[in-house]
């Protein structure tokens, strides 16, 4: 017969303030199979744990119930204490009489006490049916995958590679660098973005432990924590990268003109192009969708032969290429190449995109002089469409008056309810860069709230105000086009309590940060979910900010939510450290609180396979019949399969039918 010890925690006043602990203790003492019931001020403290250990060592108890706070934070501590005293750690059960009782029923002491009794009785009833279980271990593949080659992804990759692990960095664009590569300067120190980012990109490109897979996307993810099997689709570049030197001769020869994504559509690139001057790898790709097939040189065909000279007729890009990297006889292959990777952990750093101006019809998006802040960033950048000359798009004139509009698409229930977090600072930064270079420029920032929380940020804001940048509190209602390519900004000045109008040469919209396109689909492949705003959800906002509910998958940077560069880098380095723990340990613990199929009872109906949210269940053929098979490493122990199995063939260890029934009976009695 089990000898159950019940230990009731006062949690200072947290529990004892609402629950009559002594009454509960007396009640517990007389429950069947309870050998001992004790109470203590703080059960999780050293002396509290010692009480439990002594009773186990003295042979008084062989099952432990602690009635205290939440198992989410405290179960591991008590399990360890139980194990230290020589008992199997799964012979332990917790009753949550704080979060789910004393806190919830603080003003009903009698009710709280009665509920505590029920909860304790229920835990005791379950404890009688507890079985000893053993942890298992799985070997870990000592390699990691980082998805997204922006600043967060690069730091995550460098950290892991620096620890000696093989890292695969997948980036969907031809070059790494991400959005940060587009920025001119970065707040709060106004470092030149390219100057601080390029060395990092080069380090990533040359690190012997980092395998760069650019122009590639994650196709599928299988396997589980410690041993993921990832398929990556490498898009066809139609340029032989082994031969390409990045000289750009083919680019200069190409006659096609397509809006340049890197310059936010403000100038044109060619159909064969290198993404930007500092690209890593600095290689060309052919954008077949916009290729003009000069000289009828469609990809994958042999060149026609000139009737007089007898020489092959080549496209200009081919003729320009000195190394033979550009060869249009190369097979047409839109499917690209599938590369299979084996990794132990995965970090997702897919970043963000900025909203386009088109949805904001009230702000005259058809005017070339209404630009997004990212477009202004390119206008200010030396590698941008104006080569760093400060010009407005319509007529290349230097703007004399500039209006910034904040919260465009952010904090707006029509678009995104969240604050994009970086806009206040980047508006101030862009305004300051302009004002410092051209002090005669009149700059207005229309804001709802100035949010400059962060180290050195408020000082930055005050510095900008002292420079003479004018801050106006009030929402901008509309922007009209005026003759002479000018714009009229109409706003409501909350401080004046009146509508105001401003004529400007350039209007800058601080458009919202949005999740990168395809993030939800990538999330589905990985088994992690997006929140209502579309960013990836972390396991716990405060305590597990880079972990996800799928073990072995970590997130960092703007894939998790809007954030600035310092924060994205900190988070990336946190994620790399979290992802390195299992790689370093070399094996991972698989908790035994998972489901198991009784193969003799299983009818192979497949109900469980469809329901499993972790894709842990597969139907496997066994002696000509289908049987449900659970991948122990993938199973998260949610119990959906056990509850749904029509044959009762699935047992969820730690939550068996006998244990649950006993709990319910105790609660209902």
């Amino acid at each position: 017969m089990p000898r159950i010890g019940v230990y009731i925690c006062h949690c200072g006043e947290n529990i004892a303030g609402a629950v009559n602990v002594e009454e509960v203790r007396k009640y517990a003492e007389q429950l069947p199979e309870v050998a001992i019931a004790r109470d203590y001020l703080f059960m999780c403290s050293d002396p509290g744990q010692e009480l439990i250990k002594q009773d186990i060592r003295a042979g008084l108890v062989d099952r432990v119930v602690v009635a205290a706070c939440t198992p989410r934070t405290h179960e591991p501590i008590f399990r360890e204490a139980v194990a230290e005293a020589g008992l199997n750690k799964y012979l332990f059960e917790m009753a949550n009489i704080r979060d789910q009782d004393s806190w919830a029923h603080w003003h009903d002491k009698e009710g709280a006490t009665a509920k505590a009794k029920k909860l304790v009785a229920s835990a005791v009833a379950k404890a009688a049916f507890l079985e000893p279980l053993e942890d298992r271990f799985v070997e870990v593949t000592p390699a990691a995958l980082v998805v997204g080659g922006g600043v967060a992804g690069m730091f995550a990759a460098l950290d892991l590679a620096g620890m000696g692990y093989q890292v695969y960095l997948v980036e969907k664009n031809p070059s790494i660098g991400g959005n940060m590569a587009k920025l001119d300067k970065t707040f709060p120190t106004n470092d030149c973005s390219a100057c601080i980012l390029t060395p990092v990109m080069v380090r990533v490109g040359t690190h012997p432990k980092i395998k760069l897979l650019t122009y590639s996307e994650v196709e599928s993810v299988e396997g589980s924590f410690g041993n993921f099997k990832v398929k990556v689709r490498r898009k066809q570049t139609y340029i032989d990268w082994d031969k390409c030197t990045g000289c750009g001769d083919c680019v200069n020869a190409c006659p096609a003109r397509i809006p340049n994504e890197f310059n936010e559509g403000m100038d044109n690139r060619r159909a064969v192009y290198i993404e930007f001057p500092q690209a890593v790898p600095k290689k060309a790709v052919v954008d077949l969708e916009h290729c003009l097939n000069c000289g009828k040189r469609t990809i994958g065909t042999a060149p026609r032969i000139h009737s007089k000279t007898g020489k092959p007729i080549l496209a200009p890009c081919e003729r320009a290429c000195k190394t033979g990297a550009c060869d249009r006889s190369k097979a047409y292959d839109p499917e690209g190449e599938i590369i299979e990777l084996a990794v132990g952990t995965i970090i997702v750093t897919t970043g963000y995109r900025v909203m386009d101006k088109a949805p904001f019809k009230e702000y005259s998006p058809q005017s070339p002089n209404v630009v997004t802040a990212m477009q202004l960033e390119r206008i200010l950048s030396a590698t941008g469409p104006t080569a760093g000359h400060f010009e407005r798009p319509s007529d290349k004139e230097k703007p004399k008056t500039i209006a910034f509009v904040s919260c465009v698409g952010s904090r707006d229930k029509r678009h995104h309810t969240y604050c994009s977090k970086v806009c206040c600072m980047y508006m101030l930064k862009e305004a300051r860069l302009i004002k410092e270079k051209y002090p005669e420029t009149d700059i207005y920032i229309f804001f709802i709230d100035v949010r400059t929380a962060g180290k050195d940020f408020e000082e930055y804001y005050n510095y900008c105000r002292n420079l003479g940048i004018k801050m106006l509190r009030g929402r901008v209602g509309g922007v009209d086009e005026l003759p002479g390519d000018r714009l009229r900004v109409r706003a409501y000045d909350v401080d004046l309590g009146a509508p105001v109008e401003l004529e400007a040469d350039l209007v800058v919209l601080a458009t919202a940060i949005e999740p990168a396109p395809g993030l939800a689909e990538l999330g589905r492949k990985l088994g992690i979910t997006c929140g209502s705003e579309g960013f990836l959800k972390e396991m716990h906002t405060k305590l597990y900010p880079v972990e996800t509910p799928v073990r072995g998958v970590y997130i960092a940077g703007c894939a998790q939510g809007p954030k600035d560069i310092p924060e994205a880098v900190s988070q990336a380095r946190a994620a790399s450290s979290a992802a390195a723990v299992p790689l370093t340990f070399g094996k991972i613990v698989v908790e035994p609180l998972i489901s198991e199929v009784n193969q003799r009872k299983c009818s192979g109906c497949g109900t469980c396979e469809k329901l499993c949210p972790y894709s842990a269940i597969k139907l496997v053929e066994d002696k000509g019949r289908l049987r449900s098979h659970i991948d122990e490493a993938l199973c998260a122990g949610c119990g959906v399969c056990a509850a749904a199995c029509p044959s009762g063939a699935i047992t969820l260890h730690g939550f068996t039918n006998a244990q649950i029934s006993a709990q319910i009976k105790a609660l209902a009695s």
């Binding site: 019809k361 009230e362 005259s364 058809q366 509309g478 009209d480 086009e481 005026l482 003759p483 009229r488």
Partner: protein, 296 residues
């Protein structure tokens, strides 16, 4: 083609010449009018819509039911009627609880709202059902060489989701412009096109502010378009622009006058209507504009 003509109080009591214009122009284009006997207040903004949503929708639904019983769409020339009726209809069609409550009220008078009739603004109806070409063919007088400035009216545009006839881009409205161009006129863009004219509650509550808005609009269109005529799509805008100018002139706020007509008045004139009948109550000098048109 037959429609239920919802006259609206501004038109019936303040500008019956506009009512005459509708009664001339639509039949001339082959659209038969039903008087929707028993039609009441729409009810207008500032009355029931401000204080009692169910009451508003019940009065609106009663008007709509009159058209439904005859299987007709409602056509009006007033932005307020258009907005109030369309918004009430939108609410009723999207809120089953409200619809039930309103139909309980209507049962007392033996009527029921079903949601089968649409609410249309006259020039949108003409644009979508006849098209500019049919109108062009029917004209007796053309406006070639005349420049027009527009006042579409806010209720014809927003909230766009409640309207059956939609603009592709409400910030760049197309329909009134194309309907004026169909008459042969040149339509000029001015930057305060979408501004409020100051009519409605503001005109009742704060005349000075209201006139300040209409002044800004008039100055903008004078400077940027210098039109021969201002054309409104809404009877309330018509009243505001037609009556405010003499006050502004007296206060020396403006030194010019722009004649003002509702689109349906202009259309009736171009179709050959008697100016006294369809524009006789204008306070601005539309007569000289009409004479010029007839002389050309």
């Amino acid at each position: 083609m037959k429609i239920g003509f919802f006259v609206g109080c501004n038109t019936a009591f303040n500008r019956p010449d506009l009512e005459q214009a509708v009664r001339y122009a639509l039949p001339a284009l082959g659209v038969e009018l039903d008087n929707l006997d028993g039609q009441s207040c729409c009810p207008s903004w500032g009355t029931l819509p401000s204080v009692d949503v169910a009451g508003w929708c019940a009065v609106g639904a009663r008007n709509l039911a009159l058209a439904e019983e005859k299987g007709l769409d409602i056509v009006t020339v007033c932005g307020s009627c258009y907005g109030s009726l369309a918004e009430a209809k939108y609410k009723l069609d999207h809120d089953p609880e409200l619809k039930t409550r309103v139909n309980e009220l209507l049962r007392n008078i033996g009527r029921e709202y079903k949601g089968t009739s649409q609410v249309r603004l006259a020039h949108y109806y003409l644009d979508h059902e006849l098209g500019p070409d049919r109108i062009r063919e029917a004209l007796k007088y053309k406006l070639d060489g005349f420049t027009i400035a527009l006042q579409p009216g806010c209720h014809s545009l927003w909230p766009s989701k409640v309207y059956f006839d939609k603009e592709e881009d409400t910030f760049h409205p197309r329909v009134l412009k194309e309907m004026c161009e169909a008459l042969g006129a040149t339509v000029g863009y001015y930057t305060r096109l979408l501004d409020c004219c100051g009519m409605g509650a503001m005109r009742s509550a704060d005349m000075e502010k209201s006139f300040h808005l209409v002044e800004k609009k008039l100055v903008s269109m004078k400077e940027e378009v210098n039109p021969d005529l201002l054309v409104t799509g809404c009877s309330s805008c018509l009243l505001q622009f037609d009556t405010a100018q003499k006050f502004l002139q007296k206060d020396k706020k403006i030194k010019f006058e722009i004649p003002v007509l509702h689109y349906m008045q202009l259309l009736a004139l171009c179709l050959g209507a008697d100016p006294e009948q369809v524009a006789g109550l204008a306070e601005t000098n539309v007569r000289s504009f009409i004479d010029r048109v007839r002389k050309e």
